[in-house]
């Protein structure tokens, strides 16, 4: 269970969000500038809430009243940033391996192969991020987060730079992760269709406030493409 009840001031913008999501995948939905990335940064521990509580499966990550703020590196999260943030000095192979090394996990060639094949980045392994296309970068970033064996996945529009075909391949994989591995996720997307497939609960954000919370029914109705 993911419990979030925080407030945070960022310049003139403020986030005041409170929800408790039981589901395995919490979808964050909202217009550009609604505060989705800010909220997810707080869950990651990169942004400290001014006030409030964040806990996951009963374990407190943040509690301003009790001065608890678990540092980022101990949260065991996998975060796919909106802007990829690959390490420019490491080739794709080492980017993918980074989380495993830092967490001192045993090598798992099978898992690695599965992720690499799924994302179709096998032929990029020796390249550095500077020479990847936009979509390739995001795929590698997704792979990097998945391979760090996180306890919680934070996905900030992980598929928005990808083509339909690719999305159709990756979404089912994420659904399997949700159902089989049971890794909880927070998934940010503008794409209602994506959220409908993946999210078990939806948080609607608008100007930093939660305006709706519930199942897929809170999403705007599907429109058929023009």
């Amino acid at each position: 269970m993911l419990r979030v009840d925080v407030s945070k001031q960022l310049g003139e913008f403020s986030v005041e969000a409170s929800f408790a999501s039981e589901g395995r995948v919490t979808g964050l939905f909202g217009a550009s500038g609604a505060g989705k990335s800010s909220l997810i940064n707080m869950i990651a521990g990169l942004l400290q809430p001014d006030r409030g509580v964040i806990s996951i499966d009963g374990e407190t990550l943040d509690n301003t009243a009790e001065h608890i703020h678990i540092p980022v590196h101990r949260r065991r999260i996998g975060y796919v940033f909106q802007d990829a943030r690959l390490f420019p000095h490491l080739d794709v192979r080492h980017n993918l391996d980074y989380g495993r090394r830092m967490n001192r996990l045993a090598d798992d060639p099978a898992a690695r192969k599965r992720v690499i094949d799924l994302l179709d980045i096998g032929n990029l392994l020796d390249r550095r991020p500077g020479r990847l296309s936009g979509g390739e970068r995001h795929r590698v970033a997704l792979g990097r987060a998945l391979l760090s064996q996180p306890r919680l996945l934070l996905l900030d529009e992980p598929l928005s730079s990808l083509d339909e075909e690719r999305k159709e391949e990756i979404l089912p994989y994420l659904m399997r992760l949700r159902d089989e591995a049971g890794i909880p996720m927070v998934y940010v997307s503008h794409d209602a269709a994506e959220l409908r497939q993946l999210a078990t609960e939806i948080v609607m954000l608008r100007r930093g406030r939660v305006t709706a919370f519930g199942g897929a029914e809170v999403l705007p109705p599907a429109v058929s493409p023009a």
Partner: protein, 231 residues
């Protein structure tokens, strides 16, 4: 012209040893200080910054005297180090290395600091989310990305260490085989009537050493930049 005398050879070797040791010992310290100045706010930060720059601002002779008074045989720190660690600086090549290290420290720190400041903190955050402790973030992300600055600082520092003699000669004197570096040898020769040819010979040698250091550092830097901005 290039019949270098044994004393001169000794001076050349000593210079290389002194400058190399000074640079290698000062670099980790310089990185630590640069990191503190770049990434931490603390009380007295500008004082630390000012102290680091002192050797640049003061005439080298003054720095040399201060070293003599502090690390000399009768100096407070000097006696303590000699008694407790057996580390003697006074009139030894180690003292020359200390003097060079201190004189080149500001030149070392500034470029490193700038490079660390330029590292995108969002990448450090990303490393944190992947489980890297702050220390490992520093080693695996910040430091490699700041490498051009580290190399740049090391080159400046090394070049300065080769050229330094004001503080060195004042602190540990000009004893052939022990503390006479190329630069102090050049200085002695320049002070001697008709020492000019010999001085010129040594000047050429220092220039060659510095060029070698520069080219080596450019080569490393090039590789580092390539690693950062391409395959």
């Amino acid at each position: 012209m290039f019949d270098i005398s044994p004393t001169e050879w000794t001076a050349i070797q000593l210079s290389l040893r002194v400058a190399t040791v000074a640079t290698l010992v000062a670099t980790p310290l310089g990185i630590a200080v640069a990191w503190l100045l770049a990434r931490r706010e603390f009380w007295g930060k500008s004082v630390v910054d000012a102290i680091i720059h002192l050797p640049l601002v003061l005439p080298p002779v003054v720095t040399g005297y201060l070293l003599l008074l502090t690390f000399g045989r009768r100096g407070l720190v000097g006696t303590w180090l000699a008694d407790h660690l057996g580390l003697v600086f006074a009139f030894r090549w180690t003292g020359a290395a200390l003097a060079c290290g201190i004189m080149s420290f500001p030149l070392l720190v500034r470029p490193i600091r700038l490079s660390i400041e330029a590292v995108d903190q969002r990448l450090e955050q990303a490393a944190g989310t992947l489980g890297a402790t702050p220390w490992r973030v520093f080693l695996s992300v910040t430091l490699p990305l700041a490498l051009p600055g580290v190399l740049g600082g090391m080159v400046l520092g090394f070049a300065k260490a080769i050229g330094e003699f004001g503080a060195t000669i004042t602190f540990v004197s000009n004893i052939p085989g022990e503390t006479q570096t190329i630069s102090s040898a050049i200085y002695s020769l320049i002070q001697t009537p008709d020492g000019d040819t010999a001085a010129l010979r040594l000047v050429v040698v220092s220039v060659l050493i510095a060029m070698a250091a520069l080219i080596a550092s450019e080569w490393f830097a090039q590789r580092a930049t390539q690693r950062l901005h391409g395959n």
